[in-house]
């Protein structure tokens, strides 16, 4: 590998805004939580040790599907060092992240649905003691037939894994139609039908889940937990423990990586909370790595069928997408995931008519949920690989084809998603240029190839998980006479840099340094609600709330200083911890003095800011998944080398351009791009949440194939290619200082670009992920035998789809409602005061 340092070509142009040159925003800087992290002082959940603290371990089902006939904990209770044993009856109220699938219990009452489903909890003085006592719990199971994949679920209505959902073991079926797609296929010059399979994978954060709960000295409950969504955990605890939320405090400790794996309320959190209340002592739990695999909530395996009509010049006439997704044993975010598999196809290229049918099945496996890109990753793989096949058939260069059909800014798509700024064309042009695409595509020697793919991702889910009209994020500022600023916000730092975003924005607006700011985040008692770190929403939503709060504080200070210095407040500039009139430099006070002046004038100086996304034009049922304040765009070119003899794939170089609006901290933004590329490569090449059945003579049970990091492969430092990142900075007015998301979008194009590059290298199509040497060898053998040079799924099962909701697209007179559903006129929400930079 060349020794050349991969440098990001950051835009040099001054980031001018209304307030003049920016001092903090857009400047590469050390993140506010860096020092704690490089000195090992960051306090993760498992680093918490409290006096009289006791330990909890969960007994988990060894069977994938069974009824609990009897459970006897008497022997465990008398084991030396054991304080408490809890079972399903102690915590029987159901909960779940989505209001419409509250299907989980902290400890299974009578029905275990996957290997690892918790059924009892032992709380003991030592962790080892709790662990030993698990074996003293006698459980009598009645084994039930196990369902290992969605097609088996469709064919096996009984026994039902859940007694809710569509019917049998079908959890959810959706069908939406935007215009007449059959007609669009009739008008097309060519119609392409392709089936793809995207295997599941897990987040694999290096930090295992951990939590510590205490009954406060005053009798309330406090829980520290490695969670991405303290607000939702707060609600779930109040429900299950039947306690007023006001008496519960959730403190999200910095996550040692989340990626979506810590964004459900979890069994272990609820159990330690209950145990702490019962014992009136601190109770800690830390999951083993194997248990993290059983928590999962990772990437849904998705079988998908794309039918796309195109004209000879590449314009798309219509698309019909069907997805069959393996939900695992519980709902989790699954209903949202199902809709997400059909939501973002229309956001990159113009699709005039679109039909989507999605089906999620229950299976006896750890539940799937949101993993980075949540449900939009799998269909993006199919869409971008099919587009590569279309380009080849139409003899159009894949980059050129995409440039012809990219969507335009501010478009309302066929499925009524209102786009923000769209600079996808610029991203494509940048990577085509930087990668030398035209000199390489179909021109490299056998075994070397390049592939191109694009994608879009949302900057925060436009609708809250539980329906309400309140802000999605709130920030409170307290300005101190000493010039220090305290920022209170529910936003949760999971490594993505949300603390640094908040500090950077407040420092910029108030003209101080980030070091003058103290952050109190992810604590349901201290900060106003932020819905949590998921769907790439924090920078935009908490960022906009922070701007509003900071602008309000600035206005107070400006008014007070203006009066004192007898200067018009419009002339005052806030910079370098000073407030001054540029025209009259002697008219200057320190920031601390300005705070004191404001406090003398107004009383205690404290402000709030909040952000609520704009209303979405998608009024039809199911239109709640997909809307977002704005969308980011990405284009990637990937170079691969494939050995024709072994099928081994190496990825030396990746060129990626991301339409980010503005990089609030370029060092961190580049880190999010490279982290997304890394995780995408893991899914493209090696990661599988795979299961197998034990031999019949044993139990024929369905077990996880690699429930440890020894077998579950993830890329190491040796696998990571050089990455040339280009951040396209055309500020989007909807984002704070123009910023859009960057934490998930850059992952999406990686897998399809690898598949397209493998085809360019050795002429075989691998229509499924992960793309392994074994599959390449099989495809090469097919090629040699003169058959279709391909490895991938061959058929998509026929599913009884419900009657589709028909929503005429905007250009066919649609108003966002379905014609065959009572019009749901969303009550016009009072127009929020224009949030920022006003």
């Amino acid at each position: 590998m060349a020794d050349q340092k991969s440098t990001a070509t950051l835009p040099a142009k001054d980031a001018e805004t209304k307030q003049g040159k920016l001092r903090v925003i857009g400047v590469p800087r050390r993140r506010v939580d860096a020092r704690a992290k490089v000195t090992g002082q960051t306090r993760f959940a498992d680093d918490i040790f409290l006096p009289r603290m006791v330990h909890c371990k969960l007994l988990r089902s060894p069977h994938p599907h069974a009824r609990i006939k009897k459970i006897d904990v008497s022997r465990a209770l008398v084991h030396p060092g054991v304080y408490l044993v809890l079972t399903g009856k102690d915590l029987s109220i159901e909960y779940g992240i989505l209001p419409i699938s509250q299907d989980e219990q902290a400890l299974c009452l009578d029905h275990v649905r996957h290997v690892g489903d918790p059924i009892a909890a032992v709380i003991a003085r030592e962790e080892l003691t709790a662990f030993e006592a698990l074996d003293l719990i006698d459980v009598e199971y009645e084994l039930l037939t196990t369902i290992s994949d969605p097609e088996e679920a469709l064919a096996t209505p009984e026994p039902r894994i859940h007694d809710y959902g569509e019917e049998g073991n079908v959890h959810k079926r959706v069908a939406l139609e935007f215009g007449n797609v059959e007609q669009s296929f009739a008008e097309a010059d060519e119609v392409f039908e392709d089936v793809f399979f995207y295997q599941g994978s897990t987040h694999l954060p290096i930090e295992q889940h951990a939590a510590v709960a205490i009954k406060d000295p005053d009798g309330k409950l406090t829980i520290w937990s490695s969670t991405q969504t303290p607000h939702y955990l707060h609600r779930a605890l109040a429900k299950v423990l039947e306690m007023p939320a006001a008496h519960i405090r959730v403190i999200a400790t910095p996550n040692g990586g989340g990626f979506g794996g810590k964004s459900d309320p979890f069994n272990h959190e609820i159990v330690v909370a209950k145990a702490a209340l019962v014992l009136d002592r601190p109770v800690k739990i830390c999951l083993t790595r194997e248990e993290v695999f059983y928590c999962h909530r990772g990437r849904h395996p998705v079988l998908m069928k794309f039918k796309t009509g195109v004209k000879r010049d590449g314009t798309i006439t219509g698309m019909h997408l069907q997805t069959l997704i393996d939900g695992g044993a519980y709902g989790s975010y699954g209903v949202a995931s199902t809709f997400y598999t059909g939501a973002l196809q229309t956001t990159t290229y113009h699709i005039p008519r679109y039909r989507f049918q999605g089906c999620r099945a229950f299976t006896n496996k750890p539940p799937c949920g949101p993993k980075r890109g949540h449900g939009t990753v799998q269909p993006r793989f199919g869409q971008e690989v099919q587009l590569d096949k279309i380009a080849e058939k139409l003899a159009i260069d894949p980059a050129e084809l995409r440039l012809r059909i990219v969507e335009k800014s501010d478009t309302v798509t066929a499925n009524f998603l209102r786009l923000g700024t769209v600079h996808l064309a610029e991203c494509i042009r940048r990577v085509v240029k930087s990668s030398g695409w035209h000199d390489k595509f179909r021109k490299l020697p056998e075994g070397r190839g390049v592939g191109l793919a694009c994608s879009a991702y949302l900057t925060g889910a436009g609708l809250p998980i539980y329906w309400n009209k309140m802000p999605h994020s709130g920030v409170q500022l307290k300005l101190d006479r000493g010039g220090g600023i305290a920022v209170f916000c529910g936003a949760t730092e999971i490594g993505q840099g949300s603390d640094d975003v908040l500090a950077g924005i407040v420092a910029e607006v108030l003209g101080v340094s980030t070091f003058d700011i103290r952050l109190f985040t992810g604590d349901t008692d201290l900060g106003p609600v932020d819905l949590g770190s998921y769907s790439s929403r924090v920078t935009l939503m908490a960022g906009n709330a922070a701007i509003q709060a900071a602008e309000r504080a600035k206005a107070m200070l400006a008014e007070a200083v203006a009066q004192q210095l007898e200067v018009p407040k419009e002339n005052l500039t806030f910079a370098d911890n000073r407030v001054f009139d540029e025209a009259a430099p002697d008219k200057c006070v320190t920031f601390a003095e300005a705070v004191c002046m404001a406090e003398a004038m107004f009383g205690t100086v404290g402000t709030v800011g909040s952000y609520t996304p704009p209303k979405s034009p998608a009024l039809y049922k199911g239109g709640g998944v997909g809307p977002s304040p704005t969308y980011s765009y990405t284009a990637a070119v990937i170079e691969v080398e494939v050995s024709p003899t072994t099928g081994w794939i190496t990825v030396p170089k990746i060129w990626i351009a991301h339409d980010i609006g503005r990089a609030l901290n370029p060092t961190l933004a580049r880190g999010q791009v490279e982290g997304s590329v890394y995780m995408g490569l893991g899914e493209a090449l090696m990661e599988e949440q795979e299961f197998r059945r034990l031999p019949k003579k044993l139990s024929h049970a369905l077990v996880h194939k690699f429930p440890s990091m020894l077998e579950y492969k993830s890329p190491t430092s040796l696998d990571m290619p050089e990455v040339f990142t280009e951040l396209i900075e055309e500020p989007d007015p909807r984002g704070p200082f123009g910023a859009k998301e960057v934490g998930q979008g850059p992952l999406l194009p990686i897998m399809p670009a690898v598949a397209n590059a493998v085809y360019d290298a050795v002429g075989v199509r691998i229509d499924e992920v992960p793309i392994t040497p074994e599959k390449i060898m099989k495809a090469l053998a097919e090629k040699k035998a003169g058959r279709a040079p391909r490895y991938g799924p061959s058929h998509f099962p026929n599913i009884e789809w419900p009657e589709a909701l028909r929503v005429p697209p905007p250009w066919e007179g649609g108003d966002g409602n379905a014609v065959n559903e009572p019009a749901r006129r969303a009550k016009p929400r009072p127009e929020k005061e224009k949030v920022h930079n006003s």
Binding site: M1, S6, R30, R31, D33, A34, K37, V38, T39, G40, T42, F44, D46, D47, F49, P80, G81, V82, Y83, R125, E126, L128, T129, E132, H203, L204, P205, I206, E207, Q208, P254, N255, G256, G257, G258, F259, T288, R289, I494, G495, G497, T667, L668, R670, G671, E674, G675, S676, V677, Y678, S708, M709, L710, S714, T716, S717, L718, M720, E722, V723
Partner: protein, 171 residues
């Protein structure tokens, strides 16, 4: 009365040099070096990620060499010299590696960072001017899920230049 199981009693004892300080600690005999560091000595900077010697998050320096402390029995460390992330800085200042990691985005969630820092220190102690491939090789046992490793390589490369300059000015 809740009694303590025998195997949990702190019946073993060692004396080692931890981060340059002579340290006595007693612990239950079955405990690993990782568990003793975190639970009996309160040095929670060293992390665990897999309990299987696979993720690298528990790396510490034992006699100057990176080891996975989850696979080392504390009993094996009597008289040993152990360095953890807590021992990296000196005179209230960060080690050049820590400064470079902080400045260049080499730590995102920070969970794998302590182990990578000590491993990188061992590399630079033994090879002051490693190539990019040698850095990749030295860190190949430390898994990171956030960064994609590139900013970590750049931070090690920046630190090695700083260290080299410090030596020049020091002599």
């Amino acid at each position: 009365m809740i009694t303590l199981p025998t195997e949990s009693e702190k019946t073993s004892r060692i004396r080692m040099t931890l981060n340059g300080e002579l340290t006595d600690v007693s612990f239950a005999p079955y405990k690993t070096l990782l568990e003793v560091l975190r639970e009996d000595l309160g040095h929670t900077g060293t992390k665990h990620g897999c309990e299987l010697g696979e993720c690298g998050a528990c790396a510490v320096l034992l006699g100057g060499k990176p080891v996975l402390s989850c696979l080392v029995l504390a009993l094996e460390c009597d008289g040993a010299n152990v360095l953890t992330v807590e021992g990296l800085g000196a005179d209230g200042k960060l080690h050049p590696l820590q400064d470079a990691f902080a400045d260049l985005g080499a730590a995102q969630c920070g969970y794998c960072t302590p182990a990578i820092l000590v491993t990188a220190k061992a590399l630079l102690d033994q090879n002051p001017r490693p190539s990019r491939d040698e850095i990749r090789q030295a860190l190949s046992g430390n898994l990171c899920r956030c960064t994609g490793y590139l900013q970590i390589f750049e931070a090690v490369e920046e630190a090695m230049v700083k260290i080299a300059n410090q030596q020049v000015t020091a002599t």
